[in-house]
């Protein structure tokens, strides 16, 4: 075991953690907002809006994330309208392209989770609340959302882990996250086993951190589950 090399590698790989966490965090938040909107569309009374939501989910779930990243990073430059718009300074950067692709991708999965969680709220509880005179925002805030949170939180935690892993694809469009740095180090030193193993351990520990956070959130939000 070449401990100095391992320590140096670990040190260099850890400098990629902030970017990995940034991509995960921003995409998770933006993705959640998008997901909630899509899930709201999926419950809409108008059938065309429901189809639109289903199409959105189908498109993003049915194609590889890497293809989505390439379409945004390489493909969008071809659209003249976009190139001359105010969005171009953002879309010309790999960082924002990665965030856009990750947010859109995770929002499709998130929308399904939110839709499922809201559908899992017992019908009779909603009817009981309506009989008490609750409706609209009050009904959602008091009855539907708290229950849906309970059903959906664990699934959304899994989605956050999948998102963390998915951010590694940003390295393909030149971003220097943990995977990007690992790749650069390997092409410099050819010591692939050690470097990729350490990178894997970093991701694994981040996964455990997310699992721990979800557990804490569950305990904090759902006091009745405390044993």
């Amino acid at each position: 075991m070449d401990w100095p090399f391992l320590a140096r590698t670990a040190g260099e790989l850890l400098t990629g953690v902030p970017l990995t966490l940034q991509l995960t965090g921003i995409a998770l938040c933006a993705g959640f907002v998008l997901a909630a909107s899509v899930a709201a569309l999926a419950h809409n009374r108008l059938a065309p809006l429901r189809w639109l939501a289903r199409l959105y989910v189908g498109l993003f779930q049915g194609t590889p994330l890497l293809v989505q990243i390439f379409i945004i990073y390489y493909g969008f430059g071809q659209i003249e309208y976009l190139r001359s718009s105010f969005l171009w300074p953002f879309l010309a950067q790999a960082y924002w392209c990665a965030i856009l692709a990750l947010s859109l991708n995770t929002s499709a999965y998130g929308a399904e989770i939110i839709r499922g969680a809201i559908a899992a709220v017992p019908r009779n509880e909603i009817e009981a609340a309506q009989a008490m005179g609750m409706s609209g925002f009050l009904l959602r805030r008091r009855i539907i959302w708290p229950q849906a949170l309970r059903y959906g939180l664990a699934n959304y935690g899994n989605e956050a882990i999948l998102l963390l892993k998915a951010t590694s694809l940003a390295s393909v469009i030149t971003l220097m996250d943990v995977t990007g740095i690992a790749y650069r180090l390997v092409s410099k030193t050819y010591r692939s086993e050690e470097i990729f193993t350490i990178a894997g351990m970093i991701y694994l520990s981040l996964t455990f951190v997310i699992v721990g956070c979800v557990h804490m959130l569950e305990r904090w939000l759902l006091p009745r589950n405390r044993v």
Partner: protein, 237 residues
């Protein structure tokens, strides 16, 4: 969209259509091979995790935790770089100096298969746990030996229960094969990259690739769902 972009993805002399369809076929084959490897590993993994020996259970848990916790691309890279280094080392020991490397198809399929095996382990394990214990006891009471019991009672029902989860895993395997483009396998995504580099039409070719992935996913998904429905008939009654 004008007519020229349609000829570019078409099947004419200037079209990339034929190459794209061949590449899509390779994607499908790679996905099938990965899924099959994952099936073998998943069965073994489920057996390990359901074993009564703690050390075997521990190995199974280690496998599923690690392979589901690290990005697929790292596994692919590890096999891509590490695989040929190991092979060179092995060949040196056997007395063949020089440079050797495995085809990227083999490396990629093993890497994706290893990851999908971890997910399939969970699918088989939870399906097995859904089995009716009474049926296994009844089978034993009828004098079935362990292999007969496995073949006649356990395997068919476990497969049926695991099918919805396996369908989801199949879809993600199909999409994960896009990673093999990074290690140089000319599958659908790689072919689209080549085409868009030659024609400077990335939007057109990546869009076509996305549609082809969507089509493959929808068609196979439809097939899996109809099998599911067919096999589910005996539970409906």
């Amino acid at each position: 969209m004008n007519t020229s972009s349609l000829t570019l993805v078409g099947f004419g002399p200037d079209g990339w259509g034929k190459l794209l369809v061949i590449a899509a076929g390779l994607t499908l084959i790679a996905a099938l091979c990965s899924f099959a490897i994952g099936g073998l590993l998943g069965t073994a993994g489920a057996a390990l995790k359901l074993s009564s020996t703690p050390i075997l259970r521990w190995i199974g848990t280690f496998y599923t935790t690690v392979l589901r916790g690290i990005p697929e691309i790292l596994v692919v890279y590890l096999f891509y770089f590490g695989g040929s280094l190991a092979l060179i080392h092995l060949m040196h020991l056997a007395g063949f100096p020089g440079f050797f490397s495995l085809p990227s198809f083999v490396i990629g399929v093993i890497a994706i298969g290893l990851v999908s095996g971890a997910y399939q382990t969970e699918a088989y394990r939870s399906a097995y746990l859904r089995l009716d214990r009474g049926q296994i006891e009844a089978g034993k009471a009828c004098g079935m030996s362990r292999p007969v019991l496995l073949w006649r009672v356990i395997a068919p029902q476990t497969l049926r229960f695991a099918l919805p989860a396996l369908g989801n895993i199949w879809q993600s395997v199909l999409k994960e094969t896009a990673l093999l483009s990074i290690i140089g396998l000319v599958e659908l995504l790689r072919q689209s990259t080549i085409a868009s580099g030659a024609t400077r039409q990335p939007l057109l070719f990546y869009g076509t690739a996305a549609l082809l992935y969507l089509l493959m996913g929808q068609l196979t998904g439809f097939g899996i769902r109809s099998v599911e429905k067919r096999l589910g008939r005996c539970w409906e009654r």
